[in-house]
Subunit: 556 residues, 2 copies
């Protein structure tokens, strides 16, 4: 069977100018990066701001399992199929992180016949956005330490610096360090660490910014730490916001690429889906909606985390009103939710599907709470049996939803035609009455309780007094109106990754709250979160290389 | 008076396709990055390898002073003037480092009417080469620490890891650190630090590589540290070379830009001029020579460091044979070499010029030792008087050299016509009989002694026994044939930055020797060297920002 890389290479890509023309982007608005990638000029985005808006479709999923679901491939396959049935459709995806390509995960450009291309470029340096974010993040760090070094006029407490450095690399050794060693001329010793670039608040800011001015404004609001008496020091206090914005100017322009079937795709921004909101940039989504009749986009993790943040953080912040949600599931993953081990997934087990489908049912019902019509995409594997598929369909029928079998991985657009027709029909009928889950005026703790109750079906949110006091403090600082961004395990509705299916009555323990003042949300950390991954014993990097023609091998 | 940025913005740039056409590069060999930058496809470089070669002109300078000399502007002005008099000329320059733009130094794209453009792009992210180098450097670091973490099968001694991490930032707090803290799951505690990206051996390798295969071969040879019993561990032992080469694949392609007067310029690579060889890439220089009748290039610092390394490291390694050296000086800088303080440079002082010109005389004589004809470019400032200029001319006449007054900063090509005519005449006459200073078979210590004697006029090289033993060890390891790269102060022929002019009889103390096995040289550290700069009290970053149209302000 051909690998993703082989399929991608066998495809003949169109010049990016042709893709742009198809999308309605004039050549003069294109900033080419080679023949198959381009940035879109910000001036063109400004001119498009008043154009009528297309429909917005969110692709989300059940709680992820080791079996894999295929959210990105479904996003691509659905868009290709919508284009194939004559609906002008664009895709909005996140940019993959370079670091994980060298670990286990591989790239994030879809798979099989549902890919965006050129995959090697997109997975590695692409158009340099992540490098720009890394630089902006670390310029702020350098200016913090430089301020401490030259006398610390602002009185920043070196022990209370919360801003960390960033690198787009899986490198556990950078998690915790003492730097500034070597004596008075070499800096200011203090504890610090690196997060992977996607976890930087700069990434979240780039993805939520509505224009360059908003970008700089948000960068200036970043809180880097506190003085001894608890006053916040911001990037603006350090006069770092202008230079950071200069570093990010080009990165704010969305990137245009294509699917293997020639659909235009905007691949732009890639914030972490736990300590940030996990969806592509507002700039790209807004541009896509001004150009196409339908934009298909994706949110990270399962719908409890990714879709909730898309709907409660990104959409209100950007003034977006989505029209439909597609929830992706596989029979294999539902069997894992029903208690089957990964090794046994090849054996038919209808009862396990019936037990596990409760996870899918809850996600569908949750999406409806936002006023969205929902369809289910059942991403087919060769091991799926008719009985198992029927079990999913029956469960969906019981809640008035429809599940469509999709084979875009193997068949491209042709494998998602039925799904596309159903999506098109629902969009044309206009069922959506989008509303975020909570009002921005609600106190921060109550926002969190609302998410826990309505989405996670938790019985209780455990907020220790010190954390409750911090939330109060954020409100006093003027950040009571912002949404809450939950960082918890993606594997379960609960905070316990082992509780699959549709757990109820559990307790959500809040361990820590952080204010991302620039991005504009409060992060509620509920469980262990990892902001700098490590490499495995045998990293993929060991087998990545160049072939005799200088092409990259071993990326997957 | 207009700033460099204002002059650059007022210029109308030609599409990079037009510049390429002028240079003889077909459009299909161009990989555009926007409208005014492009990479050149490596396949085209391979096809050009057999083409006849143009003449190679090296622009170098006296020992730098606080007064400034203008080597880059002279390189650009000379090339513009050569083109203006009908000689097909290309420029080869180093890429500026992003980090220093936020400190005091500013960019490195020339100045006045002798600039390469677009200056904001070139000074910031450009085409991403430095980011790729940073990533490759740090992937190797991550794989080193990951190897230690997962059991250290190679027996690498964590205390003997010499490979450091890299960042393109002026950030003194990253110089020395203890990382890997936090317990067994968080890594392996050890001492480490970051160098600025230009100081990475990966940068030197990229600049010396002759093709992709040579690049990967050199990367594999990098020595990252030793076992307890002194065996070297390489990047190849860690299986990191393939993934590093994949990260660097696009970065190996030279970048094409233009001067404000439309001369084609290859701006590619930028190794440190102390612990590395300090000149642009072999790939770019070789490409330029295959396309143009004359290539004008530049080496870092003064001729004692930059030109010597260009001639003894880069040229032999790449099989290049330069045809002429231009030594750049200013009256102001010569007055500083003659003992005048910076504040007093505005006052005429012919005697000081006569005292200081010995520095220029020696550099001219040194260049002749390599078999090169030499001309002097006297970069004119408004404060220079006729008497001072005559003093330089007379000193040059005494050694049979000619000094040409240049005003390209203010006048562009027209200000360097006389210099260009003289260069053209000497090239046509074909005086060059290039030979490196020493034979590659000479023992390493003798190579160093030859440089010290012939170029620095030192009486003695002080090599402590432990360092002599290390040099022997390098020879036993098979690295006796490589050149020696001296890291010493650029401000003096001696190791003492205060000894201006033309000191004699001094002692060159060797503090440390390092083997850059991938780059292919031995570094002899003679004095303090700084591989990670810091920011000043008031960093330029504080005044860099975006104007209302989103253009970058405050870069200089």
């Amino acid at each position: 069977m051909a690998t993703d890389l082989e399929i991608a290479r066998a495809a003949t890509l169109q010049p990016i100018t042709a893709i742009a023309e198809k999308a309605g982007i004039p050549e003069e608005a294109l900033v080419p990066f080679g023949r198959h990638k381009a940035k879109i000029d910000l001036g063109f985005l400004r001119a498009q701001a008043e154009k009528p808006r297309g429909k917005l479709v969110l692709v989300t999923g059940i709680n992820p399992t080791a079996a894999g679901e295929g959210k990105t491939t479904t996003t691509i396959g659905l868009a290709d199929a919508l284009n194939a049935i004559g609906t002008r459709t664009m895709i909005c995806l996140r940019e993959p992180s370079l670091g994980p390509c060298f670990g286990v995960k591989g790239g994030a450009t879809g798979g099989g016949h549902a890919q965006v291309a050129p995959m090697e470029d997109i997975n590695l340096h692409f158009t340099g956005d992540f490098h720009a974010i890394t630089s902006a993040n670390n310029l702020l760090s350098a200016m913090i330490d430089n301020h401490l070094y030259w006398g610390n006029g602002l009185g920043l407490d070196p022990r209370r610096v919360t801003w960390r450095r960033a690198m787009d690399m899986n490198d556990r050794n950078l998690r915790n360090m003492v730097l500034g060693l070597g004596g008075a001329a070499q800096g200011m010793p203090r504890e610090d660490g690196f997060d992977i670039t996607v976890a930087s608040e700069v990434m979240a800011i780039l993805c939520l910014a509505r224009d360059l001015a908003d970008l700089q404004e948000r960068l200036g609001r970043i809180i880097v730490g506190q003085t001894r008496d608890g006053q916040s020091i911001t990037a603006r206090d350090l006069k770092a916001d202008g230079a950071m914005a200069a570093l990010l100017r080009d990165a704010l322009s969305p990137n245009l690429v294509q699917t293997l079937e020639g659909s235009p795709a905007l691949v732009h921004g890639g914030p972490f889906a736990n300590i940030a909101h996990g969806c592509n940039s507002v700039m790209a989504t807004t541009l896509g909606l001004s150009l196409a009749d339908v934009v298909v986009t994706e949110a990270g993790f399962g719908a409890d985390l990714g879709a909730e943040k898309f709907l409660d953080i990104k959409c209100p912040s950007a003034g977006l009103s989505p029209d439909l949600a597609v929830v992706v599931a596989t029979v294999r993953a539902l069997k894992m939710h029903g208690g089957v081990a990964k090794a046994a997934l090849g054996t038919e087990d209808v009862a396990a599907v019936e037990r596990g489908v409760v996870n899918l049912v809850r996600h569908v019902e949750n999406m409806r709470k936002f006023g969205l019509p929902v369809v289910v995409a059942l991403n087919k594997f060769t091991t799926d049996t008719a009985g198992e598929i029927d079990a999913v369909r029956h469960a969906m029928a019981r809640i008035g939803a429809e599940a469509f079998l999709c084979t875009h991985w193997g068949d491209g657009a042709a494998g998602a035609t039925e799904l596309a027709r159903a999506v098109r029909k629902l969009l044309d009928e206009g069922h959506a009455k989008f509303r975020p889950l909570y009002d921005s005026a609600l106190p921060l703790a109550d926002k969190l309780r609302t998410i826990a109750r309505e989405i996670y079906h938790a019985a209780e949110v455990q907020i220790p007094p010190a954390i409750a006091a911090r939330l109060k403090r954020f409100e006093e600082m003027g950040f009571g109106h912002v949404p809450v961004c939950v960082a918890k395990t993606p594997y379960s509705f609960s905070a316990d990754p082992a509780r699959l299916g549709a757990p109820e009555g559990h307790v959500l323990p809040v361990r820590e709250v952080r204010l991302s003042a620039g991005a504009g949300f409060v992060v509620a950390v509920c469980g262990d979160i990892m902001t700098m991954p490590g490499l495995p014993r045998r990293p993929a990097a060991e087998t990545i290389g160049l072939d005799a023609e200088g092409r990259i091998e071993g990326l997957f």
